[in-house]
Amino acid sequence: MSLSVPDLNFRVIAPALIVALTALIVLLAELVTPAPRKRWLGVLGLIGLLIAAGATVGLWGAPASAFGGMVVADNFGLFLTLVILLGAALSILLALDFVRAHRVDQGEYYVLVLFAVVGMILMATATDLIVIFLALELLSLPLYILAAFKRADARSLEAGLKYFLLGAFSSAFFLYGIAFIFGGTGTTNLMKIADALAKNPRNDLLLVGAGLLLVGFAFKVALVPFHWWTPDVYDGAPTAVTAFMSVGVKAAAFGAFFRAFLVALPAFAFDWRIVLAALAVLTMTLGNVAALLQSNVKRMLAYSSIAHAGYILIALVAMGASGLSSALFYLLAYTLTNLGAFGAVIALSDGERERLEIRDWGGAARQYPFIAAMFAIFMLSLAGFPPLAGFTGKFLIFSAAVETGWAWLAVIGVLNSLVSAYFYLRPIVQMYMSEPVPGWDRIRVAPLVALALVLALIGVIALGLYPTPAIVMATGGFLR
């Protein structure tokens, strides 16, 4: 009897392997690190993320598939890997002082972040529904724990439990969808599903499967009407965790979402494009309108992240090379901007007391001019003001939609951007035009948080002024 060993090309999954190895090393180091030195474990994690980023760059330009077509290292996946690594590194920088201020200074924090990153990278590079599902679980499980990481805080526990229950629920939809797709085509490989569809385009089982898969993805990227968990979880989770999951999960889940629908189901594009366009309209509109009504900065950013998922969905409806590259660029811009915005909330917090209500930001510009200016720039970028990254991203997505004949969708997107300007400008007005609120004037901004903010700011401005290199990098596309 002979067994065929699949093509084991560990180089293709090197970034994920390096991060996994780093996580194991940090886990062991945690056991021998005395309590006051726990932050060095975060530094160890950062080094691992940097090495993984180097490995990702080393794979660039030579698309390769491995493990029997389960994982791929194409430019689409590698670009998202870099976005995820960047987001994770910046959020660890934000967390180093945050976990101490909130008295959850444990090495496990970094281990869980690193394991979630492994799941995210695999999800962005997987080309098989089973691997996508495993990666989804691998990224979700650490995040459930991280959301509840501040054990003494009932709101953090509530966030963790809500996220876990709804996440498990959506995983069931996802898995059920995979089962139907397997029933309809006899395979879980994305390319082979497309081949089976090309031979037999009328496939009702697969249609049901695609619908269930859509529900699973919609939960993870928080599309209306599957967004209900987002405000509560983003609000209750520790701010550093919210910052990490608002960018990492979006990049990874949108990666698999795009790949699944564009590689496996292009034959159904006529059907799902209309459904996704409707979801995009709902998501943008409801996200922005609900954000108008929030008085809490974290909840406002949660609804804003829902609205941004709607913008990115327009790129999927547009399909084609321009849709794909605009989504990648948008995810990069959104990662930098959103981490910056949450980072500013962390920077101007007083120990465990966080500046969550918008009225608390009154006069912040007079007390902390640099942080306030950076926060204002991140808000303007989220709203899509030129010449910042958010503007370029929106411009690329809307022009991709117009190019492919979805001009009405782009118009709704632009109108939504106008609405969103109101709530993004509100904290800025509060910071620059209100009297300082008493009790918020003795904050020592942690240098590492300031460093993360400056790095994000450089990225946001650079992507706005000179986006060409990033756009060129984003146009690699899939390996088929």
Binding site: M1, S2, L3, V5, L24, L27, L28, E30, L31
Partner: protein
């Protein structure tokens, strides 16, 4: 062919008949002397009381999760052991890596006191 499934049908009939006959005979012929201990759901000495929805100590949960983790590890070992020779060095190194990862988790749980009850 449907006729190939005939043995299964016969099997179902025999099993059903056996169960019905055994239960009927024991109900008709056996002596019946009930007492409170015999009537309790578990004759283990542990009196079942209260609602099943009361709160349990988290320690049971931790023990159960650890048990499942290392139990499933054993399930992976079985097929590997059966095909040990065919899989050769590749199988050995793959299983070694798998065990190493589990061992790191084991060391972590051990050092953190996960195996201690109090």
């Amino acid at each position: 062919m449907p006729v190939d499934y005939l043995p299964i049908l016969v099997m179902i009939a025999i099993v059903t008949a056996f169960a019905v006959i055994a239960l009927t005979l024991s109900a008709m012929t056996g002596p019946r002397r009930p007492n409170p201990t015999k009537l309790s759901p578990y004759e283990s000495g542990m009196p079942p009381f209260g609602s099943a929805r009361r709160r349990f100590s988290i320690k049971y949960y931790l023990t159960a999760v650890l048990f499942i983790l290392f139990d499933i590890e054993i399930i992976f070992f079985y097929p590997w052991a059966v095909l040990f020779r065919d899989l050769g060095w590749f199988g050995l190194s793959a299983m070694g890596t798998f065990m190493l990862v589990l061992l790191i988790g084991y060391v972590y749980v051990w050092r953190k006191g996960g195996f201690e009850w109090d």
